[in-house]
Each structure stands twice: as C-alpha cells, then as structure tokens.
C-alpha cells in the first residue's frame, strides 16, 4: 500500500463477506474505501445491509471473510486493538433508546470517555466539550427519559464525540426527526466535522439530504455495493437507483423530467435547490 492512499483513505474494506449465525449471507463481497475528512453517505433501502456493514467498521462484527483496514492497518481483533478501534471509530445507533443506558445525561456522555483510562480532569474536559458542541449543556441534569427524541439523539452523539473519534458513523441520523430537527442535526454534524476534523459516514434512505450534506455516496442493495462516486455521478445513474428501491432527490426528479420530457435544454441534472436555480437561470440566460 503506498503512502498517498494511506493519507487519503481512513477506512478500507476488501472483499468483505458476512454470514449471520442463522446463515443469512448479509454482505457479499464489499470493497470500498472511505476518504478521510469527508462526509460519505451509504444509501440503501430497508434491509440492504447498511447496519451490518457499519458494525464491521468498529469491530462489533468480525467478517466471515475479507479484510477491514483502518488508517492503512488491518484491524486487530485483540482486546486492546478493539479498544483502540472503538475509540477511533464512534458509532451512533438509530434508536437513541438503545444507546443511552443511564438516566443521567451527564453520566451517559462520560461513559465512553472513562473506558479510555484518561486522567479525571481530561475526561471531564472532554465531556464538557461534547455537551457544548451538541448543544445540550443545559440538559446535563435532566433525566434521560424526560428528553425529546431530538435531544436524545444529541445526547447519543455527545457520548460518542466525547471519545474524540477520528471517524463518526451514524445509522439513520435523521430518522424520526421533523424537518427542523433534520436540518439542525445535519448542521451539527457538518460543523463537528469541520471543528473536530472528522470523517463522517452516514447510513440513510433519506435521499433528499444526501446531495445537500454529503461529498460521496455508496449505494447498497442486497449486501452489495452497486453504485459509488460523488453525488453527481451516482444520481446520474437514475435507472439503477430505481432498481434498488431508491429514487432521485425530488429536485433531481423534476429536473430530469424537464430535461428529457419537456425539452428544457439543461446542461446537467442538478440535485439540489441551489443547483436547480443555477441550471434554470443559465438556461433562461442562454435562451434570452
């Protein structure tokens, strides 16, 4: 492996297969590389294998065959190796009630940090910082069960951020949130990514957020990666997306129809509102 790849990619999966104990072949030869310092989306319908894949990234599951590389090194499944990996790759699960085990927000956020065997004041500093970053400092003395769903999501994220990971992996971060909640949590993630120099990986089937917040996309279906590339590259493969229970972002869908059915001579098919504005203005100006 050469130097340049080691710098650019933080996680690499090579021909990863996974069979569940009941025999289900959940992952069928996944080979992907996750670029450092970007926001990558893992798109796929229900049951495509996104969650199974995620659990390989911090060693919760061990591949049946194939390899996982972190920062250029194959994952070490010893006790110590796993602890290091789990510090470096933080996981936020879909249902915060499955992640928050303590009735106190403060105690819950401190749990992961304390597993790192840091001096107490450093641990405290990290907890404070995570609470602040996720905007829940004022909830520290509230009982977990009194939090709203969105606040629980933030608490779950804080508990992982406090460990100061290099990679943040989130399973359906927008599920169950209302539109304002979605944009707030995505904004929070983007800011955190910049502020803490993180790599972020998001599994989702909320397609409309992908072109807005993500740099790269992998599309999964039935345990395989069927598409990958930048948002533009992936969303250009419209037919393939539809075959795997997905669709274009709504804006993209409109632009596609305008271009191919209604004869608007657009150069490309933009996926976001700002992209669509530009394309339509260009088209108007060219016509004028």
């Amino acid at each position: 492996m050469n130097e340049s790849i080691m710098q650019d990619n933080i996680i690499q999966l090579k021909d990863l297969h996974y069979h569940y104990p009941d025999g289900t072949h959940a992952l069928k030869g996944i080979t992907i590389t996750i670029p450092k310092g970007q926001v990558t989306a893992l798109l796929g319908g229900n049951g495509a294998g996104k969650s199974t894949l995620f659990q390989h990234l911090n060693g919760i599951l061990k591949p049946s065959s194939g390899e996982v590389f972190f920062d250029g090194q194959p994952v070490d499944y010893s006790r110590k190796g796993l602890l290091n990996l789990r510090q470096a790759v933080g996981m936020v699960f879909q249902d915060p009630d499955n992640q928050l085990f303590s009735a106190s927000v403060y105690q819950d956020v401190s749990y992961g940090v304390l597993n790192l065997q840091l001096p107490k004041d450093e641990a405290q500093r990290r907890v404070e910082h995570a609470l602040e970053r996720t905007g829940i400092s004022h909830l520290r003395n509230k009982p977990t069960h009194a939090l709203s769903f969105g606040q629980k999501k933030r608490a779950a994220i804080a508990g992982v951020l406090a460990m100061e990971p290099q990679v943040l992996v989130l399973d359906e971060p927008t599920a169950g949130l209302d539109p304002k909640g979605i944009s707030e949590i995505m904004q929070l993630l983007l800011e955190t990514q910049k502020g803490m120099d993180l790599t972020i990986l998001i599994a989702t089937h909320d397609i409309d957020i992908v072109p807005l917040y993500c740099d790269r996309v992998f599309v999964m279906d039935e345990g395989e990666v069927v598409l990958e590339g930048t948002c533009g590259e992936v969303f250009a493969k419209r037919e393939k997306l539809r075959n795997v229970n997905l669709r274009l972002p709504r804006i993209g869908h409109l632009m596609e129809i305008l271009k191919f059915k209604d004869g608007f001579a657009l150069d490309e098919i933009p996926m976001t509102i700002s992209g669509a504005r530009k394309a339509l203005k260009n088209w108007r100006d060219e016509k004028a």
Binding site: L83, F93, D97, S104, P143, T144, H145, A146
Partner: protein, 256 residues
C-alpha cells in the same frame, strides 16, 4: 402512575449533597420509629412535610396524593390489629358476641392503633422527603458511596433507565390493543394482556442485545464507569439535622 422523580428534579433541595439528605431522612425515620409516640410522630410529619413543601417546593397536591397512597393498607392493617376476638367480654370497650365469642375493640387496641397511624405517617413523610428532593440518580451515588456492591448499583442504574423505556412501549401497546377492542371482556382482556406482556418481554430481550452492542461500541470492558457530578456540601445543614434529631430524641425520652 405516580412518579416522584419528576418532582425531585424540580426540587429546590436538589443541589444539596444527596448523602446529607439521605442521612437526615434516615436518621429522622429511625428516631420516629424508635420513639413510637404520637407527639414525636406528629412533630416529624410537620418537620418533614414542611421541608418537602416549603423548602423543596414540592406541590402540596402531589404530597397529599402520596399521603393517600398507603391509606388503604394503613386502615385495613390498623382495623385488623385493633379488632380482637375473645371469650371474655370485659377486655373490650365495645363488642359483639357471635357463637359464644366476643368480637370487639379494646382501649389498648385503640391506643395502639392511633399510635401506629401517626408513626406510619411520620415515617412515610421521611420517605417522601427523600423521594421528592433527591432524584434516583443521586440516590444511586449515595449507595455507591456507602460501598454497596458495584454490580448491585450498576444493575440499579440500568434497571432504572430501562423501566422508562419499557413503560413507554407497554403504554403504546396497551393503547393499540384498546383501539382494537382488546379489553372488551374478561376473556379477551386476559388474552390481550398475556400477548402484550410476552411481546414486551421479547422486545426487552432484543433491546438488551442492542444496548449491549452499543455499550461495546463505546469500549465496554465489563464494568460501567461514569463520572459523577459534584454536590454542595453544607456543614450548617449537617449541624441542623443533628440538632433536630437531638431535640426529637429528648422529646421522646421526656415523654417516656
């Protein structure tokens, strides 16, 4: 369902070191039990409910509701103790004879009943002082400081959190069943409750697995360690608590 914890979080006494509150409540409870005298009991009721309502700011209506909770046990218990059966009518103040026996109440029975009534309310007001001023999370830290086995305190913390998760699920499932007329008669009621409880159990099982996975993802190593918030430790309050209980003890000794 009553849940005192909500009010404990809102209490003005919340910030006080829970250990102090715990010792104060337990000491007073002990004195109230030991003294076993109406006057002392009433003093404790006034003191503790005053502290809970005036200093803590717990709503009076909530406190009243809590006081009513044990009433049925108390009334039934006291009646059972006070009523006696005997062949001898002279021991009773008031009695009926049935098939050669006398069923009735004696003077000492009444005295014991009244004493018990106030002793129980006094003790209960100590318990409520604690539960309306100290959230469970704080009480757990007291137990930890009292050197209870780690595993025990850990389990308590987990159980406490899970209770709310499961209660929410159970409540939603009961609503769903009621919407489909699941409790329309006794037979369907039992069937519905049985299936609800079994589904709840399986959900609890699955949840425990998922929670374990997420604990592992944050580096679980067999023990759940967390940071504790610090509390204000007020020497004046320690003195006050000792003084109050000293006075109560003298009062009891004087009356005895």
């Amino acid at each position: 369902m009553l849940n005192t914890d909500t009010y404990a979080y809102a209490s003005r006494l919340k910030a006080i070191d829970p250990m102090q509150k715990f010792i104060f409540a337990f000491l007073t409870l002990g004195v109230c039990l030991w003294a076993d005298q109406m006057v002392v009991s009433i003093a404790v009721i006034v003191l503790m409910s005053g502290a809970t309502i005036f200093f803590g700011g717990a709503p009076f209506s909530v406190w009243l509701k809590l006081m009513i909770v044990p009433m049925s046990f108390l009334v039934i218990g006291i009646i059972t103790i006070a009523i006696n059966i005997s062949r001898d009518v002279h021991s009773f103040l008031w009695a009926y004879s049935i098939a050669g026996y006398w069923v009735g109440i004696s003077e000492s029975g009444i005295r014991e009943g009244i004493n018990l009534f106030f002793r129980v309310l006094g003790s209960v007001s100590c318990l409520y002082f604690l539960s309306l001023s100290t959230p469970m999370v704080d009480l757990l830290s007291v137990l930890r400081r009292l050197r209870l086995p780690k595993l025990m305190v850990e389990m308590m913390g987990l159980i406490y959190r899970f209770i709310f998760v499961l209660l929410e699920t159970a409540a939603t499932m009961l609503i769903a069943q009621n919407s489909r007329l699941g409790y329309i008669n006794l037979r369907t009621g039992y069937r519905s409750m049985g299936s609800m409880v079994s589904v709840l159990f399986i959900r609890a099982y699955k949840r425990s697995n998922e929670l374990y996975t997420s604990l592992e993802a944050r580096g679980y190593d067999g023990e759940i360690k967390v940071l504790e918030e610090t509390y204000e430790n007020n020497k004046k309050l320690v003195f006050l608590a000792a003084l109050i209980n000293g006075v109560l003890i003298f009062l009891a000794l004087f009356l005895k």
